[in-house]
Structures are given as C-alpha cells and as structure tokens.
Amino acid sequence: MKLLYTSFCLTALLVLTTAGCRKYLDIVPDNVATIDNAFKMRADAEKYLFTCYNNLPQFGNEGADPAFLTGDEFATVYPVLGNINGSLYRIARGEQNIVSPIANYWDGKYFQALRECNIFLENIDKVRDLTDFEKKRWVAEVKFLKAYYHYTLVRMYGPIPIIKNNLPISASAEQVKVKRQHVDSVFNYTVSLIDEAAADLPVILPNEFSELGRITKPIALAIKAEILTTAASPLYNGNQNYANFRNKDNEPLFSSTASPEKWERAALACREAITACEANGHRLYEFVPRSVTTKVSDSTQRLMSIRAAVTDKWNVELIWGASNSTGSGSRGFQSLSQARLSPFTGTIPNESIGSMLAPPLHIAEMFYSSNGVPIEEDKNYPYGTRFTALRKALKSERYYVKEGYTTVQLNFDREPRFYADLGFDGGIWFGQGKNDDDHTWVLEGKLGQTGGRQGASLYSVTGYWPKKLANYNNTINDPAQQYNVEGYPFPIMRLADLYLLYAEALNESKGPSAEVYGWIDKVRTRAGLKGVAESWTKYSNKPSKFSSKDGLREIIQRERLIELVFEGKRFWDLRRWRVAENYLQRSVNGWDIAQREAVNYYRVKPIYMSSFSLKDYFWPISENSLIVNPNLVQNPGW
C-alpha cells in the first residue's frame, strides 16, 4: 500500500513537472521581430529600400573610398596618427597582400549588398499598402543598385560571380561554391539590369526636396554609359595580360581580343545619356553668387564656376550626387581638404580643420599652362625651371597669387583650374567667409606661417591643398575651434564627366573628329581655355597631336584627369586605361614644408615611393576565401 502511494506520488510529481516545464521554458513572446516585419507596411519596406541604398560606396571617405588615399592624388602624414583613417593609404605604399587584403570588399560589403537587394526584390510583393506605381519604381531602383554593386565589384576584382538570386542559407556545400564569371558576362548582366530598371525609373524626381540622391532615369543612363565605357576600356577589352587568366575548368575570364564594337556601344550609351540629361535641364555649371555681398572679378567668377561645379550642392551639372557622403563630419573630406587660413588666436591652431589631404607635386604639374596645353608641351612655359625659379606675383595675377608674394614658377602661368582646384603657399583662397574679391584669404604655407606645419599631424605634407573639395561657403571660427561645413553631395556623375566619356568613346570608335573636339571644348570653355585644336596648334610643341587617334586619346585622358581631379575618378581611369604602372610607381614628392624661407621651402622633397605592378590592377581575393571556395581562382600575380 505504502509502495503504491509512493509510486503514485512520484508519477504525479513527474507528470506535473514535465508538463509544467514545457510551459515554463516557453518565454519568447509572440510578435518578436523577424525579417517578415520588414515587408509588412510601406513604411517598413521603405526602410529596406534605404538599406539597399546604404551599401553604396562611401564616396569621399578616405577610410573607405579606394579612390582617395589608394591612388596618387593625395599624400598624407605617415605613420597615420589617429586623425585620418589611413588604412587604404597602405595600398599606395605597397602593402597590399593576400593574407588580410586591405580594403577587402570581397569578404563583406558588396556581396552582402547584393543579398539585401535580392531579399528586397523577393519580398516586395508582400507589402500590402504599396501602390503598383511606387512598387515599380522601387524595384527599378533596387535593380539599378544591384547592377551598380556588381559594377563596383568588377572594377575592384575583375571577374566576379554574378549574384542573380540568393542562395538559401541551407544551400549545400557544393551549391555555395560559386565560380567567377567572364567579365563580359558580368558587364552584360549589369547593363541588362540597368536597362530593365531604366524603363520604370522616374525621369524627374517627384519630390526633389526629400528625394534628391535617389535614382532617376538620367542617372541610370549615365551610369550605364560609364559602365559600358569601362567595359570597352583596354583593361577589360582584349587585355592580353589576362589571356591565361582562367577558371579552374579552363573557361576564360577575359576576352583576349579587343572588340571595337564595345566602344561603339559605349558611345551610343553616352549619347543617349547626354540627351536624357540635357533634356532634363542639366548643363555645365556657371557660378552665380548666392549673396549680394559676394563681389567677384571675372577671374574669380571663372575659378568659382570650376570649383563650385562640385561643391555647390545639387547644382545643374550634377547628375548623381551621393546624398550620404557630404563631407560634413569633423574629419570629413571637407575638413581634411581645408587649409588653415587665419592666424590662430590662442596657443594652438584650430583643430577642427584637418588639412591632411595633400596633393603631391605631380598633381600640380598635371594642370595645363595658362595656354591650355600641358606645361611640358607649352612652347612658352619655362618648364625647366618650374621647381627652382622663384618670383613675386604681379598685380595682374592678384586673383591667383597674392600680389608681391614670392612663390615658385610651378604656381605661375597656369590654367584657371589650377587656381580653382589647388591651394598653395601664396595662393588666393576665395570664400570661407571672405567673399569680397579684394579681401580674400591668402594661404601661407611655410613653417611658422598660418597654413604651415602645426603639431604632429594636422597639416599638408606636400604644400598643396585640394581647395576644390572644400565648399566655399564653409566658415572658419578660430576662437571657437570651429569649422562650419556646408555639406554637398559628393559627385558620382556630373555632366562634364559624361561629355569626356563620350569624347573618349567617340575617339576610340571613330577617331578624331570635330564632334570629338566639340565635346572636349565644352569642358575647356567652362575652364576658360581655348579649344583643343586652337590651343595645341598655337602653343604646343606637338601641334598636331590632336589629329591622331593616339594623340587625341592622350589629350582626352589628360583633360579628364584635370577636370575630374580629386573626384575619385583618376584612380579608376588610370586602371581602365591600363596606364597605371606609368603613374603609380614613382617618387611622390612635395615641397620641403619644414622650412621657413621660400628658398628652402621650394625644394622638392620625396615623401614616399608609390608602388604598383601588373598584379595591382585587381585587388587580391583573400587567401581564406580561396580556401573556403576552391572554385575561385586568384587574380593574376597574387
């Protein structure tokens, strides 16, 4: 009896506890957020749309945009001392490697971005309160972004796996081991996506005030033009170096014979894009003072047309601006570009001014002479003494260089874009609170002077500053240690860029013609220069250069490098033209900034040896990625 009772108790206890246990452990409430919640309402889905946009490259961010410190447009303090994100600078200095690749975007951002785009496209139909019209537009935007992320990857890595659809998380080990695909396939897929998208994209944003930065049809067409031009460029089009660059199953990844049709297709796309943009009111920017207190001479008006074409936000020339990259942070690209102009009042200089992005001497040399031809070709320019001859600025030069200020020949007799884009010792710096042409800032850059080396890191190591990137509306408040920045969307595509792309594609597909010169001259005219034909004929020691396809190619390339300097284009252009090894392995020089006297200051001082070889055209894929996915092949040379 007792035993029975006991066993009864025991059983009862067991049953009770186990039954109770299940409930006890069930602690997760209903309505815990899952990914389904992201596609319930329009407002949620909009967030996901913005997430897809979030993955766009951080244009102008020196720590993330390879086109900044990785190229040869900027030098900076090294070792980097905490005020600038200099991790990508290590690539320029030859530290790229396969173990932990610098700027490793293969293992991270962009493939994730593609997955997110696909998640959006897979789920957008679930949203209940989204109109078909808006849905179409959103889908088109995401398709464009998907194309753009493919393009971003192909620029860095060459052949990539195309991510049309997402693989499920439970995909088998074999399924996930994707292969790289022929660059042409990648470009074609990218372009086809843009074509699909363009049909549903708005020509004009319905609400500019809140939507500027979102994709429109002209943007899609312009980027398509850039992509097709890239695809037609020698790096991708018939690159013999990659004849043996094949997948493991021996499929080629590059076409080894150049195909001229690619240029034709590119030219067509450029034409189409230009038409669409111009129809939409885009035109080359001309400076109009915003306030009546701004008093400018014609010279300054010209300089400001050049400079503000980038910094005047959402101006008529801008086709696509990065609304997320406005350079307004405390160490944004505007602060890093700004030179120190005013003598500081306390014991230490204004630290809100970064002043750390320093264009080296070869960038200063790149600009044309005042005659609109390269200084090394200009018959009238004293090229031999450009580093050595010092002289005082004349009154006629007072809008460029402070009258009577001693500086070097390199800073004299240059085209307006030199004076618009660069700050230098003795140079006039319009704006920044001083908008009267007769009372402007003068940048004094030698040691002990306001703009010269201060402290351990916040200074230009070369003696030049990328004035172009600093919005002239930014104001300096030294006593409060402030630099008040007016952000502007970093230009991803502007009309001048598109004109020059078209000129390039035309020259490549059809050779020199008046039509080609015309597109270049539009840009030159805005820069205050005479046309290509006239300038070369009159001033160059290679007067007929423009009439040959090769010569004209050189001219177009130089024009692009000058016009789009500091805009994150040079880095990619040098690669797609397959000329990077001519530019990126040399001594990067500046002035001897540790000197107080002009005679000593204007001495060429090497800063570092830049490093580039054939393998650097494409970044390495990390060794680990290749081990995880044996179907991937490494880029040549790594």
């Binding site: 994730q112 593609l114 997320n324 006593p479």
Partner: protein, 1190 residues
C-alpha cells in the same frame, strides 16, 4: 627568525623595502594581539554540548549488528561515534524499534545491556567504551598497578589530538599481550609495564594508530593524528547529498576548507594546484579583478562556455561570488568531475561542477571563531624598462632605420641635457611607474563567526570584512584619494529550526557587498597606460611658470595639441566608485516521511537572489601644458596651455578645475530557484543498501540590459530559464559492490521547442576490494583498495554569447540607424535601415559530453592515500560558425551549427601522506597532479590541401603561428627569400619559414606551434609539519605544458597602441596618442644596422606597428611552465593559563606569504601572467594573522 632564510632565497628584486615590510608586519602583529585580547574578554564562555543527546531519533532494524545500528543513528543524528573495534565487536544480532526517542534514552537502551558506556566529546562526537566490570571505577580506567602486581614499571602520560586536546577512550595495549587500558576523559592514561623494552600500541577509531617503545621514560605523551581516510568518510555530492566516501562512484574531489585559507581575499586564487582535476592560473593581480581562471579537467570544449557550474548551497552563482566566499564559512568544497557526479545537473554540468556548502549551526553553547589578518603585497616582479637616454637614442634609431629621411624626434641636444639632468621640466625623464605606483601596499581581512543553538534551533552567523588596496600613489596635490581601495563585507546567517522531530526548516541569508574606490581606468588601466607613455616628451606636470604662479590647478604635461597620454593626469583627475551587492535568501524545508515508508523524505527549497552593481565617476578635465619657450640663461620657461578650447578635437569638454559627474554602468540581476527533492534511503537485510533521489528544479535569471557596454535588445531582456527533473538510484551490497544510475531530464529556454529537453543518463559502479574477505591478509599493508568507473552523458546549454541566446529565432534590427540612408536637398529625409544579426536555426541544441571515468583509490599503512583517475570525454554538438560558407553568399553574419566535436582525456592524481613522530611531531605531505588534454575531433573548416592547416587532432587551445627562422640579414637576403605577405619588411625583420613551399609566406604557413595556451598540467605539492605549538607548511604550485606569447604589438617599443594587453578593448580613445615603453630586454638585444644580430630578441625597431613582425610566431613564443612557492606558513599556537582563564580554546598566530619564489625559464615578468605581462602584476604577499576560538 624563520623569516631570515626566506629573505636570502627570494632574490628577485624590490628588496630595499623588505625591512620596512617586516617591521610593518611586526607592528601589525602587536596591534592585532591587543585587539583580540580586548575582544576576547567579552566572548569567553564554556563549550559543552549535551544538547546532542536531546535530539530525537527514529530507528527500526531487525537482526542487525550493533555497528549497523550505530551507523543508522549517526546518519540521522549528524553525529559520529568513536570506539575501539572490540567495543562493538559482538556478533549479536539486534532488533530494535524506536520512534522519536531521545537519543539519550535510546543509547541507554541499546548500550547499557551490552556494558558499553558513552560520553559526548566535542559537539557531535560520542565516544563509546566498555563499561568496567562490577566493582571497577565508574570512568572505566584501569589502574594497572592494582591489577598487575608483577609489572615492574609504571608509565603514564596524556594522549592528545593534533590540537592538543585530550582524547578519552583511547586504547593502550601492551604489544604482544592482551593487557592494556583506555585513556581517561582528559586523555591521561596510566599503565604498568614489564620493562623498558615494552612497546605500547595506541589506537582509536578515526585516528591513526601509534606504536611506541617505552624506553627509560616514565611519562610518555602521545599525539594521535587524525586518520584522513576516516575523516573524509563523508563526501558532499550533487544537490548536497552526503555520501560515504566508500560509496562514491563518481569522480569527486574534496578539499578541507582549511586548505583554501590563503592570505588573499579571493578564494579562486587558492584553487590552482590544490585540487586534483582542476587546471587553473591567475593572470592579473589587481584587487577586484584578480579572479583566477580555472577549468575542471581542462577546457573540454571549444564552444562559448567552458567554465564550470558554480553552486553554493545548491544555488548557481558566479565566479566573483565564489571569490568572495570566506574559507572559514565553508563546510565542504567539492569538485564534481565526471558524468556520474554531475549527471543530476543534466544540461548544465558538462564542464564540471564546483559544489560548496556553508556551515550550519551545531547545538551547544555559542562557539566563536575569530580571524584577523594584515598583509603587505607587492608585485612578484616588475618588468624592467630601459633608461630614458637609451629610450631617446633608440627612438631616433627606430625612425631612421625605417626612413632615413625622417625628422628625428629627439635632437642630440635634448639627449645630452637629459643625461646631464638639466631642468627636468624641459628635459623630462619620467619613470611613470615610479610617479604613479608605490612599492607595496597593505591589505586587511577579518572575520568572525558564532555558532551554536539549542534543541529547537541552531545557528551559524558569520561576518567578514576585507580591505584591499592598490599600489597607486596618492598625490598630495589632490584633495581626494584615488588609490584602488576595495572594501568587501559579508554577513551570513544559517539557521536550522526543528519544527518537529521530522521537520526541519533551514533559513540561509547571505549578503556580500563590495565598495570600490579607485582611478577611472582601474589599477590595471593606469598600470598599462604608464607603460604606454613616452618618458621623455613631457613631464607628469610642470612647476608653475611666471604666468601661472597663482594658478590653482595642476599644470599637467603634454605635447603637440594635448592629445598625448598623461597617465598621471588620468590617475589624479578623478575617481570611480562602484558598489556591488549580492543578497541571497534561501528557505529550505525538510520533512521525513518515515510514516509513509521508512527511509523516505522530501525537501523543498526556494532561493531568491538579487545582485546589483553601479558605478559613478567624478573627475575634472585636466589642464594640459607644454613648455613653449625656454631661456637657458635664467633657466625659466613659459607654458602654453594646450586644451583651452571647448570643442577641442581631442577633448569633448573644456578643462575644468571642478569635478564633473558621469554615471556609469548599472547591472541588476534577479535570480529565482526552486527545488524539490524526494529521497529514499534504506538498508535491507543489513547488506543491501538502496538510495533513490528525485530532484525537480526550476531556475530563472532575469537581467536588466542597461549597462553601458551591453546591447539592449528584446531577446536579451527575456529571462533565462532552466528546469528539469533528475534522479539517482544507487545500490550497494555489503559495502563491497556499488552501482549507481543517474539521469537528468533537463530543459533550457535557449532552444526551439522540439529541442528544449534532453535526457542525460549515466551509470557507474565501484568495488571496494579491501572489504573482501580474501583481502584480509593484505589489509595491514594496503588497508584500502577501491576501483570505480562511470560512463554517461552530460550537457552544456550555454553554447553561445548572451546575445546569441535564441538561435531558433532570427535577430533583426528593423530600425538600425547605421544602415539607413538620407536623401533630399539637405540630406535630411532619413530613414533607418534593416540589419540581420542572426539567421534562425531551429536545430540548434546543447553540447553533449560523453564521459568515461576510471578511478583507483588505495591507502597504504594508513599513511599514504592515493586517488588516481583517468578519464575520457567526447564532447559533441559543439556550436561553431560554419566555415564552408563563402563570402559571396553575402550573409551578414556567419551562421552557426552544432557541428563541432572535441575529445579529451586526462589524468588526476592526489596523494597524501601522514606521519607522526614519537616526540609528538607530525608531518603531512600532499600532492596532486592534473593533466588534461583536449583535441578537436570534428571541426568544420575548409578542405585544406595541406593537412597541417587542419585543427583536427590538435589541442583546443593550441596556438598556431609562423615558424620564425631568424631575422633578415640584409635586403639581399630579403630578395632571395619567399615573399612575406603581411606588410612591409626588410633587413632585420623576422624571416618566416615557407612551410608549404609555395614561395610565399601567407596564412597557409601557419602551423601548430608550442604547447597549448591553457596549461595541460597543473600540479601542487606541499608539506605541513608541526611539533608542539609550532607548525609550518610550505606549498608549491606549478604549471606545465603551456606556451604564451609576448604580445608583439602591445610590447613593441615606441608604437601607439591603444588596446589593452589582450587586444580586446580600447585602453584609451583612438584619437589620443600613446608611446609604448621600451623594455630593457629589447633595448639590450635588438637588430640594428650596426649590430646585425639575426637572433636578437627584438627585430629592427620601428615607431609604427610592423605588420610583418607582429604576426603570431615562434619568435615571441615562450615556455609558460613554472613552479612557484605558492604559500609558506608558520604558526604558533599560544597556550597558557591566561588563555584558559579567558576561555580561549584555541589561539594561533601565524605568518604566511604567497607567491614568494618563482622558478621559470622566462625572466621578463611573472610567467603566470602569460601574455598579459605588461598588465597589473600578480602580487606577492606577506601576511600576519591570528585565529582565536572561544
């Protein structure tokens, strides 16, 4: 005195202060004595415990031996009988039936007819002795002279235990005869013997027998040593069950709490080397964060949680709670090691269990125990730094050797002037450690406990206080104290109330409170910052210049724009205070259910804990200056104020002379635990013993998520719950054969419904060979021999970080401000984005450990006891990140799955040896050894072509690195060697071996190097000896088969490295600049262009991190094995009439020290710190203490 030789032996530095230290110790000893004598007067009271006899016992046996009956009473009454074997040797079978009878009556009923008398000694021990025949004296002592007129000689003496207490009832037998006597109540005896050659045998149950030749003496005092075997008879196992040691089938290590007494207020530091089966080490010596790391049987999983379950009185607590326990309050300390021992904890016990119970009151007059200690602690070893001149010279060298064009930081003129000792503000040479740290510090501890009670209730009440201080100097310039000061208080009250003879209510209350005051960075932060600051760029502070003569604030030194580290400013600018509280309440009701069926009882327990932590910081923002101009003629300078602007890039707030307030982290935790136990225990037919236990538990932990570092999420806010039912069934036959079956059926809220519960069964068995008849002939030599074995499953549900708790759910942030975008003319149409931090996986479940254990226990000649165990474990379902998913999948996080598997095996050995000498001296030697090795058996990794890249078959904490061959001789050497892919390198940088011969050094050339980073061997051995009032013990502890790495970045001279030594957390914001110190060892031996030593300790200097040299490699690998004199203790027990008058039963003064000597091949810092060598040093402690019982 005894200290003298120690002083000579130590020889490791910091000896200028030794004298002071000992003076200090001496003085404290004096103070202590006075204090205790004063308090003693008010506490004196006699101790006696007749209450024991008033308890009520129920018993029902049929045809049992007297021995069994006594055992039964022992179990019920929580008492023990001591007797000579022949007292209860009778073969008579007894049948007995008693219900709630007073023990006193029961004993009379049982013993009187059998001519046995009893006497209560101590609180719970009853001594039985044969009642003398009619006509003999009532005490039972036989005056030998009257009995044996033939005897020629009288011998007399006193038999005492080790503490000097007289032992009554000890049998004294003349060897080779039947003649003998028993000792009196005070331990004295008297016996007539034939001649001087006579040998007497003194024996007593529970004590080790002694044989003595009489010789010429007529007084022979004997000290009997406690027989450890007998003392350890009871072992506390899972859920606090007491098992006779003989009956234990699982692997359980117990330690007497007394052995955990070390001069430190952190119990965890005492564990390593003292308990077989535990691998342990201590990496930092900072008060408050000096918990030792320990693992039961090593690290047996590569999953998230590898630390043991810590249970105090059945309640799960944290390592810090364990660290704060007072050894004096501990009743039992057990380590449950194998599946059989831990099975009842089911899904939580796989990493072993630390099981602690606290003392309970015993009926009787109040007993008071008081202990007080005062100690002096100092670093065991300080890292030696290069002098400032060398520092500057080598800094310049580091610049120029990497970049010949570099502008050197320290001009020749500065080096010369610093050398000459000119104006120290202009030519600073700051030994930051000297500025910031004292050479030693003092700590204090005291604890007091009172226990006693009556028939209705018994109590144990204890309180303790400890005060630990850091090494920081307190600056007179400041008006607040910012040295590390950790005061810890605790109160414990355990009360047992007998509601009825069958019902007992136990109430346990415990509170532990830490109050901390210290620098904002903590002692460790300041210490590390001191080693990351240039000694020669600026002084700690400036003497005021002319303009600042009236300035109130300290003129802190800095450089450039004020963004350089000034640890002095960081130390004195303010202080942080934190309070940590733990309140624990526990209610337990035990009900005997003998009326249902005999041997059945139930217990119910409820526990509620609350923990809280918060900190506040008060600090001013320092003013930083730099000497702007210096006039050599007048030796005056003017100071530039560097951080005068409010929006300074490096400082968010302006410099202030007043304190600002900053609220810090707040952690709150509530804990609820319910437990129900059903016990059944019965002996059938005397030889069949059956025990069954069923336990049900429910546990909930709820944490707030407001602390600064923690991500706040809904999922983390949900309570953690465990529940389950587990049971044990054990059977033994005639104390020879034991079998046991355990199971745990446990669930955890972490898993999907279909995976929530798991069943974890174990079986085990033991055979006590020495209890077999055939062993009789061997018994004199091998008096105990037992083998045991177990096999079973245990689980581990803590498989992921707290934020990963619900693997079966996805974790989505639908409002992530980092993932949004902005559009519009002013970029102000912003929407946050969506991010996924976990993909759902409903299959995730706990790790399961399959454990096999084999144990052998034997003891030889009652003196040498050995427990040896070998074990094997297979841990499956280890959660790990999928390694086969390429990044092209685009997953935001790598998913995890239960795919890993590890295997481990090891060996635990515990040996002790006891010896008593004729002159009353005694000696105990103990040693233990733990070897544990765990290897990956299944590890998801890419399909490596080179097998050496695979982790399978390698130790879980096996470091992998490059094999460094030597340094490059010159650039030609570089050109002719395989390309190294880690960063720029050249002559003088480390040359690595190209393992796979592909012409490149990459991650594919990383191989297993050295020993694991967690030691595979932990051992300890010690010796205690005493004679009369003196006792002395030494204890050595060591680690073996461990490698560690000198962190090549944290220790790299001159570079700016803002992480702590482990590289995990920021020590200071990245926009501030530090400059690593230059270790003397590196200054003395490094590659330079003049001295191209390709085997120098440090490669070519650099002022920035050299990625090539900072790869993990054999270059910086060191042997971490060491052996150290962990503790040395000398005690003196004071005796005398004065104490007796004061009713002091025990008064002992002792001196001890920890970490006094270290023997290791590694000389730069204390090897126990491993790679954390530049952190707060492990401390060496000299301590004086006293212990009093009333």
């Amino acid at each position: 005195m005894f200290i003298q030789p120690m002083k000579i032996k130590t020889g490791m530095g910091i000896f200028t202060n030794e004298k002071k230290v000992f003076q200090l110790l001496y003085m404290t000893a004096k103070q202590l004595l006075m204090a205790v004598l004063a308090t003693g007067l008010s506490y004196a009271s006699p101790t006696y415990s007749q209450e024991l006899l008033k308890q009520r016992i129920s018993i029902s046996v049929k045809n049992a031996s007297l021995k069994t009956v006594l055992k039964n009473i022992e179990e019920q009454g929580d008492l023990s009988f001591s007797y000579q074997k022949q007292v209860v040797a009778s073969e008579e079978k007894i049948s007995l039936e008693a219900r709630n009878e007073l023990l006193e009556d029961l004993l009379k009923r049982v013993l009187s007819p059998r001519n046995i008398s009893y006497q209560v000694v101590k609180s719970n021990q009853i001594i039985l002795s044969k009642t003398p025949e009619e006509g003999k004296g009532p005490t039972g002592a036989l005056p030998g002279t009257e009995m044996e007129p033939l005897m020629e000689k009288q011998i007399a003496g006193k038999i005492t235990d080790e503490k000097g207490e007289g032992l009554p009832g000890v049998s004294v037998v003349l060897k080779g005869t039947q003649k003998g006597t028993t000792s009196e109540a005070d331990g004295t005896y008297r016996l007539a013997i034939p001649d001087n050659d006579a040998v007497l045998i003194f024996s007593f149950v529970g004590y080790v027998s002694e044989e003595r030749q009489v010789g010429t003496q007529s007084i022979m005092n004997v000290v009997l040593k406690v027989d450890n075997k007998a003392l350890e008879e009871v072992v506390v196992t899972a859920y606090g069950q007491k098992q006779r040691k003989e009956a234990v089938v699982g692997a359980v290590t117990t330690i007497r709490p007394g052995e955990l007494k070390i001069p430190a207020s952190n119990l965890t530091t005492a564990i390593a080397g003292r308990l077989s089966g535990v691998i342990g080490y201590q990496r930092s010596g900072e008060p408050g964060v000096d918990n030792a790391t320990f693992f039961i049987r090593g690290i047996t999983t590569f999953g998230y949680n590898n630390s043991p379950l810590i249970l105090v009185d059945n309640v799960e607590l944290t390592v810090t709670d364990l660290a704060r326990l007072q050894p004096d309050d501990i009743e039992s300390f057990s380590i449950l090691k194998d599946a059989s021992a831990t099975a009842l904890y089911g899904a939580r016990g796989a990493n072993g269990v630390v099981y602690v119970t606290t003392k309970q009151g015993k009926a009787g007059k109040a007993k008071i125990n008081f202990r007080m200690e005062n100690s002096v602690s100092m670093p065991t070893q300080n890292v030696e730094l290069a002098d400032p001149i060398t520092y500057m010279k080598l800094y310049n060298e580091a610049q120029l050797t990497r970049d010949p064009l570099a502008a050197i930081k320290y001009p020749q003129n500065q080096i010369e002037n610093t050398g000459k000792g000119n104006n120290p503000y202009i030519y600073p040479s700051t030994d930051w450690r000297d500025v910031l740290f004292k050479k030693y510090t003092q700590n204090r501890r005291a604890n007091l406990s009172v226990s006693g009670g009556g028939e209705v209730a018994q109590y144990y009440v204890a309180t303790s206080f400890s005060n630990d201080n850091g090494m920081l100097k307190v600056d007179k310039k400041n008006n607040f104290n910012n040295n590390v000061k950790l005061n810890s208080y605790s109160v414990r009250s355990n009360v047992n109330i007998n509601l009825s003879p069958q019902t007992q209510l136990i109430v346990r209350l415990y509170g532990n409170f830490d109050d901390y005051n210290g620098p904002i960075d903590g002692g460790s932060g300041i210490y590390q910052k001191a080693l990351k600051t240039s000694p020669t760029s600026y002084p700690a502070y400036y003497a005021p210049d002319k303009a600042n003569e009236a300035t109130d604030h300290i003129l802190f030194g800095n450089f450039d724009l004020g963004q350089y580290l000034n640890p002095y400013a960081d130390m004195v600018k303010g202080y942080k205070q934190y309070s940590r509280s733990k309140m624990l309440t526990q209610l337990e009701l035990a009900q005997k259910l003998d009326f249902v069926t005999k041997g059945l009882s139930v217990r119910g327990m409820a526990n509620i804990n609350r923990s809280s932590y918060f900190d506040v910081t008060r600090a001013y923002n320092p003013y930083f200056y730099h000497a702007g101009s210096y006039d050599k003629q007048s030796d005056t300078y003017t100071l530039n104020w560097l951080n005068q602007q409010a929006s300074n890039e490096f400082f968010n707030e302006p410099a202030t002379e007043y304190l600002n307030y900053n609220p810090g982290a707040k952690n709150l935790e509530s804990f609820l635990y319910l437990q129900g136990t059903l016990d059944y225990s019965r002996v059938f037919k005397e030889v069949h013993s059956l025990n069954a236990t069923v336990v049900t538990t429910m546990q909930q932990i709820l944490k707030d998520n407001s602390s600064a570092g923690q991500a706040q999420s809904l999922q983390q806010s949900l309570p953690s719950r465990n529940t389950g039912i587990s049971g044990r069934l054990s059977y033994s036959f005639d104390n020879r054969y034991f079998a046991e079956f355990n199971f745990g059926y446990n669930g955890s809220e972490r898993f999907h419904k279909s995976k929530q519960f798991g069943f974890f069964p174990t079986i085990g068995g033991a055979w006590v060979i020495s209890n077999e008849c055939f062993w009789k002939p061997m018994e004199r030599i091998v008096n105990k021999l037992k083998i045991r074995s177990s096999y079973g499953l245990v689980g581990n549900d803590a498989i992921g970080r707290p934020d990963q708790r619900f693997f079966f759910l996805s974790e989505v942030n639908l409002n992530n401000s980092q993932r949004g975008s902005s559009f519009g003319f002013n970029s102000n149409y912003t929407r946050n984005g969506v991010s996924i931090s976990r993909y759902e996986n409903k299959d995730i479940t706990w790790e399961t450990s399959y454990q096999t254990n084999l144990g052998l226990e034997f003891s030889i000649l009652q003196k040498l006891n050995v427990i040896a165990e070998i074990y094997k474990q297979r841990r499956s379902n280890i959660l790990m990140e999928r390694a086969s998913i390429p990044s092209t999948m685009g997953l935001a996080v790598t998913p995890s799955a239960n795919v890993g598997e590890a295997k481990s095996k090891g060996f635990d050995l515990a040996v002790d040896f006891n010896q008593n000498f004729k002159n009353g001296a005694w000696l105990v030697a103990r040693g233990n050894l733990t070897m544990a090795r765990s290897v990956y058996s299944i590890f998801e990794e890419p399909d490596y072509k080179d097998r050496y890249l695979s982790r399978v078959g390698q130790s879980i904490s096996q470091p992998r690195g490059l094999i460094a061959e030597r340094l490059f001789i010159d650039d030609n050497d570089v050109k002719n060697s395989p390309r190294q892919n880690f960063g720029v390198y050249g002559a003088g940088d480390i040359k690595y071996r190209d393992i796979n011969r592909d012409g490149q050094i990459t991650t594919s050339d990383f191989v297993a190097i050295g020993h694991p980073e967690t030691p595979e061997i932990t051992y300890g051995f010690g010796l205690s000896a005493g004679r009369g009032q003196f006792d002395l013990s030494v204890f050595f502890q060591g680690l073996g088969r461990e490698s560690f790495f000198i962190n090549p970045v944290a220790s790299a001279p001159f570079i700016d490295y803002n992480k702590d030594n482990n590289g995990d957390n920021d020590l200071f914001p990245a926009n501030l600049i530090g400059e690593n110190a230059l270790l003397k060892a590196f200054a003395d031996s490094h590659w330079s262009e003049e001295n191209r030593n390709i085997y120098a300790v440090w490669p070519r200097m650099s002022t920035v991190e050299n990625q090539n040299n900072s790869q993990r490699s054999t270059w910086f690998m060191r042997d971490g094995s060491f052996i150290r004199l962990k503790t040395l203790e000398a005690g003196y027990t004071v005796k005398g009439r004065v104490l007796e008058n004061l009713k002091v039963t025990n008064f002992r003064i002792y001196f001890n020290g920890t970490n006094l000597l270290t023997f290791s091949k590694f000389k730069l810092w204390d090897p126990e710190m491993g790679g954390n060598g530049l952190g707060y040093p492990v401390q060496k402690v000299f301590n004086i203490g006293l212990n009093m019982n009333f």
